[in-house]
Amino acid sequence: MSISRRKFLAGTAAAAVVASTTSVPRLWAAANHRSAHFNDQRILVVIQLSGGNDGLNTVMPYADDVYHRNRFATRIAADRVIKIDDYVGFHPALGGFGEMVRENRLAVIPGVGYPNPNRSHFESMDIWHSAHFTPPHRTGWLGRWIDEQAAKDRQTNEVNATAQALRALHIGDEPLPLALTGLNALVPSLKTIDSLRVASDELVQAALKMESVGAAPADLLDFLQGARSTALTAADRLKSIDVRQLQRTGDYDQSGLSRKLAAVAQLIKIGFGPRVYYVELAGFDTHSQQPDAHAALLGELGRAVRAFHRDLDGTAQAENVLTFCFSEFGRRVKENGSRGTDHGTAAPVMIVGPKELPKMSGKYPSLTDLDDGDLKFTVDFRSVYSTILQKWLGVDSASILGDKHPMLDFLG
């Protein structure tokens, strides 16, 4: 795997040339005729913290005695906290975030949740992904955004198979997130760039050119054929990149999240195409022995995100990338007896961007006015989505979320 990674990363700088000469002007042209206000090159990077991140120990209300009383074994002493203001601060492992807050490029939105919180990992994750509250959750918020973009392109006759297949990209070995699933959207998901290389067997190569014509239940077969053609399109696009000119930059560590974000940065720099990148960091379900495990995860997160934005700084794309970190829920205010914490509700969301972001956007939830031991949310996650959709991706959020939600101030 390290070889494939080197080959890929060795490959990624090359396409910067391609990007600056061809794809960028084409995208600009599209941006100009569509809207005077919005920049069609803007990119959203979603980092999903899977397992239910302990928000109270990520952005801790260190000045509140109630926090310390409820967290006998898992608390962080006030003098170790990286202070954001005189009430809250970051976990000491989040030095990277502390740095970015000081530069006004990271905003914390505390207390993000939704009404009638569900404490099942899977249900709550599906709710965040779909922004719908009752199963079956069939499409995701970003999948619906892709569907809408594709429909717009059809109207303006800008239909291009590669663009269709590459509006968003998931990098990781998990299944494709529901968030990226649309009615028509087909988003490639890959672990590394090498996972799209087809065996060089001649017979197989020839067979790939064959068209299938259905002899099976239409819905399943349509799905499989769509997935097949998305895979082959993405594979072709990758083949067209001149790998010799690509090189790895940036100051990443060896962690899994750093590897994924380094790959995202490379693809962004060459103008690979997607406007949404999606990666996951798992392991946040800290029911027992939380302190070391949680510190390691947060350290991985902070270092990777800092390295990622530093890597993009000074490139043409630096102004165009916004990173959004969320988890399906936070943990209970009171820790359990296993030096851990159980499933809870509201938790902070973090936004990292190119410029002037407020340090804190919104009010930290009360630690005493609780709902059966859980925080009451202060910001509905759909307001976060609305703000990103309208102010960053430049689309009408109501058509995607099915409803209007109050805008937040983190993007001005």
């Binding site: 290389r197 097949r228 159980d342």
Partner: protein, 449 residues
């Protein structure tokens, strides 16, 4: 769906015999595929007898010898304490077992009571859990849940080993209700807290379960509207007697064996759930009902599932009577999203469309190509002997045989002639059958189980 339609779909076909295509379907779904010989034998018997044999406990002498091999390999994994070899051990067992339907159910329970070696790490405990699944796979669901709740690997995985009287840990209690027995929406947050109390004191001592009465909360618990519950065992009984549990397990079995889709309604599942309620939750009887039903061979089932990576690889090898390097195969199935003993989370593998993305689709094509290459040993001998061993004379016959054994749906004439032309116009492969499989594996249809 009308009551009449539902009754019709649950009618038993046990005294009928199956067509070739139906027999291939039964074996692909329930038993990791079949050879031409097995299919022929199955069509000459009544379906009831075929299914009884499939689910039978009796072990042949060949089976007993194989079991010795599996146990020997197991002791090597344990002695070396190398938990990363677990997937290769099980894959070997799946490829060689004389009881594939039993193994399919062990795999079902592994995905249901998902426990990952990534956290537990002890080969001893994980293999002990694997044997417990095998012991109960076709037995009573109640016994299975009782065993799982005291299973050391599970206790470690869901932190119940640290479930203390004063500070109950809710993890196992939550998953028992949400994922193992009832499903979301059929319990309250209060039920979880009460159940966690019932399980306080269920601990590990070294590598074995122990009940620590000093850490057990002896007070009364109220669960699912029932009062007077004290122990964990009583709580489990209450959960299993809930009508919803039979429905939840029946639904999951139907999803695993019949159809990935949501188009099978609760009313159609109900007869299977009802049989579990009436027969003391005996799994063998429930599976027999399912595999002999009209439903199982209907349009609601044929071609309605996407193959899992393990099903695809093991099925291909068993069908071709071949074996391969299972260490390397374990790595391949991991890349395709299914690493045995390493389920992604406590929900197990979602399956269905979740198996498929750009990388795994291309990975599946590459895996079939690899499995037909030099790492694989065929019982027929070297690859030029394969066609004659399978009675295949030319490209057309090769495509026909590959299709009947491996595809859930027949190809149309145009597709078939295109495949025939591909393999005959390419430079001569040593085996038409293997060439045909290589080409079929690139088609969307190949992914259907």
């Amino acid at each position: 769906m009308s009551r009449r339609d539902i009754e019709k779909l649950w009618e038993s076909r046990e005294s009928e015999s199956l067509t070739n295509a139906e027999a291939a379907h039964l074996y692909r779904r329930a038993a990791f595929g079949a050879t031409s010989g097995e299919i022929k034998a199955a069509t000459n018997e009544a379906l009831g007898a075929v299914v009884d044999r499939m689910l039978d406990d009796a072990v042949s002498s060949e089976g007993a010898q194989l079991e010795k091999n599996f146990q020997q390999m197991k002791s090597v994994v344990i002695a070396g304490n190398i938990y990363t070899q677990l997937p290769a051990w099980w894959l070997y067992r799946l490829i060689h077992t004389s009881r594939p339907a039993l193994e399919q159910m062990v795999l079902f329970w592994h995905g249901h009571f998902a426990t990952s070696a990534a956290k537990v790490q002890s080969p001893t405990l994980l293999l002990r859990q694997n044997e417990a699944f095998r012991r109960h796979a076709l037995g009573s669901f109640t016994d299975l849940v009782m065993d799982v709740s005291r299973d050391p690997a599970m206790l470690l995985y869901l932190d119940s080993a640290t479930n203390r009287r004063n500070r109950p840990n809710e993890n196992y209690a939550r998953e028992l209700l949400e994922l193992f027995c009832l499903g979301v929406g059929h319990y309250t947050e209060k039920d979880i807290k009460e159940l966690a109390r019932a399980f306080t004191g269920w601990e590990l001592r070294g590598e074995t379960f122990q009940f620590n009465r000093f850490q057990h909360d002896p007070g009364e618990k109220k669960l699912l509207g029932k009062t007077g519950i004290e122990s964990g065992e009583q709580a489990i009984e209450v959960i299993i007697q809930s009508p919803q549990t039979a429905r939840f397990i029946a639904r999951k079995l139907v999803r695993y064996f019949v159809s990935d889709g949501d188009d099978i309604g609760d009313d159609l599942i109900e007869p299977l759930a009802q049989s579990f309620r009436e027969n003391g939750f005996q799994l063998r009887a429930g599976l027999r009902k399912l595999f002999t039903s009209r439903l199982f061979y209907s349009e609601l089932s044929i071609g309605r599932k996407i193959r899992s990576p393990v099903d695809m690889a093991v099925g291909l090898l068993r069908t071709l009577q071949a074996t391969t390097n299972t260490i390397s195969l374990a790595e391949s199935t991991r890349e395709l999203g299914q690493s045995l003993f390493f389920p992604p989370n406590v929900k197990g593998w979602d399956g269905g469309r979740q198996w498929i993305n750009s990388a795994t689709l291309i990975g599946r094509i590459n895996l079939v190509t690899k499995l037909l290459g030099p790492e694989t040993t065929f019982k027929a001998g070297s690859s030029e002997k394969i066609d004659s061993a399978f009675g295949v004379q030319n490209a057309t016959e090769a495509v026909g045989l590959a299709e009947s054994l491996l595809l859930a749906r027949v190809l149309n004439g145009k597709q078939k002639s295109e495949v025939v032309q591909k393999i005959s116009s390419e430079k001569p492969e040593r085996s038409n059958l293997l060439a045909a499989i290589k080409v079929l594996a690139t088609m969307a249809e190949f992914q259907l189980a």
